[in-house]
């Protein structure tokens, strides 16, 4: 029984590659994939090296600052650059649409600026050719061209009757055809994955981490499932269609609807249902909340007056100038604590809104396997929304830590008595600057990535099960003639 399936599969594979048009198309696709991989890899290296270069420069400049007041350093701040994951050369995901650098300073949360999209004159809207894009969009098209007449042509030429008379069951025929088509895909996919592994290993300087290898394995597995789903659907459409022509037009219409139109519409619906605030509204909401909490600039503000009173009481002094530490630094630390907390809460709310907007597209994965695979692929190659949010969070945590570190230095090392208007400003030794570590982004673990992508993963699994069931049990409704 499996023998017969493999015979049909081999036969399908051979006839497909014997067709000169198919062979040309397959080679062309393979070539463009090779090119996409190479250029993607080159781009990754250029961009990442740029960011690393500026990261080192920022660090060196920070360390080279002379003796000065720590609060000056808090305002001088830090520049953080979003690093790319080694696997992101495979799938660009949101990379080009998300900012690259963020300025981290005291009192203020800035946006991540300078996305590639901001420098684009509209060309970017056509997409970027990456390995993932070719595999997600173009390989299915190849599969459709390979398989649209897999059953219908046999029917039209009359060989279908002969095959079925020779004790070949419908089930064997469908599985054999599906596997044969997958075979053609794998003949491009397998060398490509080997190339990917090689390039990825070279990007990681031949030091392969367990997490990254696992990521790559899940990635390969997901794409293999996707190809299976698409191949099975193609063979089924070919089996159920009235003619080869109707099978082809159905498949092409599906391709256009599911891969071109649907993603835009689902996202537009998500944005419509869950509107996100504009920057100015967002900032206003934060300012209102901070105002409610207390105003550190207002000497009569009840919140800060209470702090002052309790400090005076604890240290048994009558004036903040007599406190044994820098009072201004203490108040700033308190202010930073309050404002950061409010900001972070609002940012969390905002990210929740964005997640809700995206959830429509993710849920549409149950109707459209392309969307679920796209989601999974971006998540595994760390070029997705969650990774971007994670970068923002880590940058904000670093900003807060830096501001508080400088406040602490001020509290401990700066005299509580302010110098006169014409006197030298107070300063501390530049040796302290090295106490502030460099900003390093840490990518999440695969396990947490997979937990976040549970919905997309289950959508893809549903599709896998559904296509297997269809191949197994729908044969009785297919017409032989």
């Amino acid at each position: 029984m499996p023998n017969r399936i493999s015979t049909i599969a081999k036969q399908t594979f051979k006839t497909a590659l014997n067709n000169r048009a198919t062979l040309a198309l397959t080679l062309l696709l393979g070539l463009s994939l090779g090119l996409a991989t190479y250029v993607g890899w080159q781009n990754f290296k250029t961009q990442n090296n740029q960011r690393l270069h500026y990261k080192e420069l920022v660090r060196a400049q920070w360390l080279a600052k002379p003796d000065k007041h720590p609060h000056r350093m808090a305002h001088y701040g830090y520049l953080a650059f979003r690093e790319k994951h080694e696997l992101s050369f495979f799938d660009f995901g949101i990379e080009s649409f998300a900012g690259v650098s963020i300025f981290l300073e005291a009192h203020k949360q800035n946006t991540v600026n300078f996305s590639e999209a901001g420098f684009s004159n509209g060309m970017l809207r056509f997409g970027e050719i990456s390995v993932a894009m070719v595999l997600q969009l173009l390989v299915p098209l190849l599969i459709f061209f390979l398989g649209y007449n897999s059953i219908s042509a046999e029917r039209e030429s009359g060989t279908l009757k002969i095959l079925l008379c020779q004790n070949v069951s419908w089930k064997q025929l469908l599985w054999g055809k599906t596997l044969g088509i997958i075979g053609v895909c794998l003949s491009i996919f397998i060398p490509l994955m080997l190339l990917t592994i090689l390039l990825w290993a070279s990007l990681s300087h031949w030091q392969i981490s367990g997490d990254a290898s696992l990521r790559l394995m899940v990635l390969i597995f997901s794409y293999a499932i996707y190809f299976f789903i698409v191949s099975a659907v193609t063979v089924l459409v070919s089996a159920f269609a009235r003619s080869s022509k109707s099978a082809l037009t159905t498949l092409l219409a599906c391709w256009i609807f599911f891969m071109v139109i649907m993603p835009r519409i689902t996202q537009a619906i998500g944005v419509k249902i869950y509107p996100s605030p504009s920057k100015i509204e967002f900032a206003d909401a934060i300012a209102t909340d901070i105002h409610k909490q207390g105003d550190s600039h207002n000497p009569d503000d009840p919140h800060y007056a209470a702090i002052k009173d309790s400090l005076l009481k604890t240290y048994g002094v009558t004036d903040v100038k007599k406190l044994p530490f820098n009072y201004g630094g203490y108040i700033m630390a308190e202010g930073e604590k309050i404002t950061s907390k409010i900001y972070s809460n609002h940012q969390k709310e905002l990210n929740k809104v964005f997640e809700k907007q995206n959830s429509i597209t993710t849920a549409a994965g149950f109707m459209n396997p392309y969307l679920s695979l796209k989601h999974i692929s971006m998540a595994i190659t760390a070029s997705d929304f969650d990774t971007f949010v994670d970068f923002q969070n880590q940058a904000e945590a670093y900003r807060y830590q830096l501001a508080q570190k400088m406040n602490k230095l001020q509290i401990d090392k700066i005299s509580n008595i302010a110098p006169g208007e014409e006197e030298k400003p107070l300063a501390i030794s530049k040796a302290h600057w090295a106490e502030q570590p460099d900003f390093n982004y840490h990518f999440g673990k695969l396990s947490s990535v997979l937990t976040n992508e549970l919905l997309a993963l289950s959508a893809l699994t549903c599709w896998l099960l559904a296509t297997v069931m269809l191949l197994q049990y729908t044969t009785r409704w297919i017409k032989t003639i």
Binding site: G40, N149, P425
Partner: protein
């Protein structure tokens, strides 16, 4: 009399259910595009109105908080400048989701503020907006393909063709008539959608309207020419469908996407990151230097400000502070120019390429007309720079003389709106598309002539 030849062809066309499906798909997606495009732009308009209100509210609250110290007030107070969308932006959202349409700046260094983005959902940016221009550029060609791929091949496959050729020597005329019916239907649907757009988006019927309409008609004609060319090869329906979809995928996705990757590689933008660093160092390093290092170049830049007495002996003065901020911008000028040059190089590269690819050409042309492209944004940035300088020069004297806030007219400042200066032209776009269309039609006619000889 002539009309009667076409009547049965129209009847035949409309009897086919797939014709109706094609028309309905275009209408539904067209209306969806109009709806989502308008929603997107309405939202931006609402935000701009809100920003105008907040500008007043925030200025008053800042005066309340920092009104005793004029230098501190202008340290905090923001001035908003909006790139208000015109009616066409709802037709083609373009880059308006990526580039900020509202820039609020304080009097501090501008290079540290002008590149701040809006808060966006990057996934929405990636998947793109749904607007009417998307329907015209991407979906209309597909329906054109669906309507015309089997014009000749179907006749051949059903055996009608040989019968027809036996009866008349004007077989080409028959195909031509069928083709014209499809052209008429597609153009009617396109014009209907444009007409609805006029009403729904309140588009003015002006030069821009005629330019965009012409551009779209030329673009659709190009796709008809492509279909007609493939038909003229006289291959099977399946070949035609595959070939036309492959051409669509190449022209609409693969080639632009590959060129884009090439563009990114050829013109990387490290200047942007360098610019941030230059601005930050140029400003902050001055704290640790003699005041003269700041003030001399500052007075060289603005000699008219020399008349205000600079408090040399004071450790800190707002005069010095604002001059230091200006040094950040002044020291970033080379990298800023480098960014501008790089962007101009990118634009030149794209314009050259667009000459060969009508999809890119049409997209760029429409976005340019609708004021939703990168160039409009760069002009807007330039206007923000001018506005920023105007505000600084206006308020510097008050700050440098440490005057009372009430003596300034800060309360009169409202949100400013950017109005584009020049009306863009569409001739180059039209020229390139029409040349390609004519070449294709020429080749097609040649193909048919050659076949009729046999």
């Amino acid at each position: 009399m002539k009309k009667s030849i076409y009547n049965p062809e129209f009847k035949l066309f409309f009897r086919n259910s797939s014709s109706w499906i094609g028309i309905i798909v275009l209408l539904i997606t067209g209306f969806a595009g109009l709806y989502f495009g308008k929603t997107f732009i309405n939202n931006q308009q609402a935000v701009i109105e809100k920003a105008a209100m907040l500008q007043k509210k925030n200025t008053l609250s800042n005066i309340d908080h920092f009104g005793k110290d004029i230098g501190l007030l202008f340290y905090h107070n923001k001035f908003s400048f909006a790139n208000a969308p015109n009616a066409w932006a709802a037709f083609a959202n373009g880059q308006r989701d990526i580039n900020p349409y509202l820039i609020s700046v304080t009097m501090l260094g501008l290079e540290g503020q002008i590149y701040d983005t809006d808060i966006n959902n990057p996934v929405s940016l990636l998947l793109g907006n749904m607007d009417l221009s998307f329907v015209f550029i991407f979906l209309f060609p597909l329906v054109i393909i669906a309507f015309s791929y089997n014009l000749l091949s179907e006749q051949k496959e059903s055996g009608v063709w040989s019968l027809l050729r036996a009866q008349t020597n004007q077989s080409f005329q028959v195909i031509w008539q069928k083709f014209l019916v499809r052209v008429a239907v597609i153009f009617s649907v396109a014009l209907l959608l444009l007409f609805v757009a006029i009403l729904y988006l309140h588009l003015p019927v002006d030069f821009i309207f005629f330019s965009i309409t012409t551009l779209i008609i030329f673009y659709l004609a190009f796709w008809f020419a492509v279909s007609f060319f493939i038909i003229s090869l006289a291959k099977s329906s399946n070949f035609n469908a595959s070939a036309l979809v492959a051409v669509w995928v190449l022209i609409c996705i693969v080639i632009p996407a590959s060129l884009n990757l090439f563009l990114t590689r050829k013109y990387p933008m490290p200047e942007a990151l360098q610019n941030v660093i230059n601005q930050r160092e140029g400003n902050h390093e001055k704290w640790d230097m003699a005041k003269e290092v700041t003030m001399k170049p500052f007075f060289d830049h603005y000699p008219q400000l020399k008349q205000y007495p600079f408090p040399e002996e004071k450790t800190f003065s707002w005069f010095w502070y604002y001059a230091m901020q200006q040094m950040g911008d002044d020291q970033a000028i080379a990298s800023r120019r480098a960014i501008e040059n790089k962007l101009a190089a990118r634009q030149r590269f794209t314009n050259t390429l667009a000459f060969f690819f009508p999809t890119i050409q049409t997209q760029l042309g429409i976005n340019n007309m609708a004021g939703s492209d990168l160039n409009t944004h760069l002009d807007f940035q330039e206007a923000v720079r001018k506005y920023h300088e105007q505000i600084r020069l206006h308020f510097y004297p008050g700050i440098f003389l440490n005057k009372a806030v009430d003596s300034t007219d800060i309360k009169d400042y409202k949100l400013e709106k950017y109005s584009p200066q020049q009306i863009p032209s569409v001739w180059a776009n039209l020229l390139s598309i029409s040349i390609l269309t004519v070449i294709l039609i020429g080749t097609t006619v040649f193909n048919f002539k050659r076949q009729e000889q046999f």
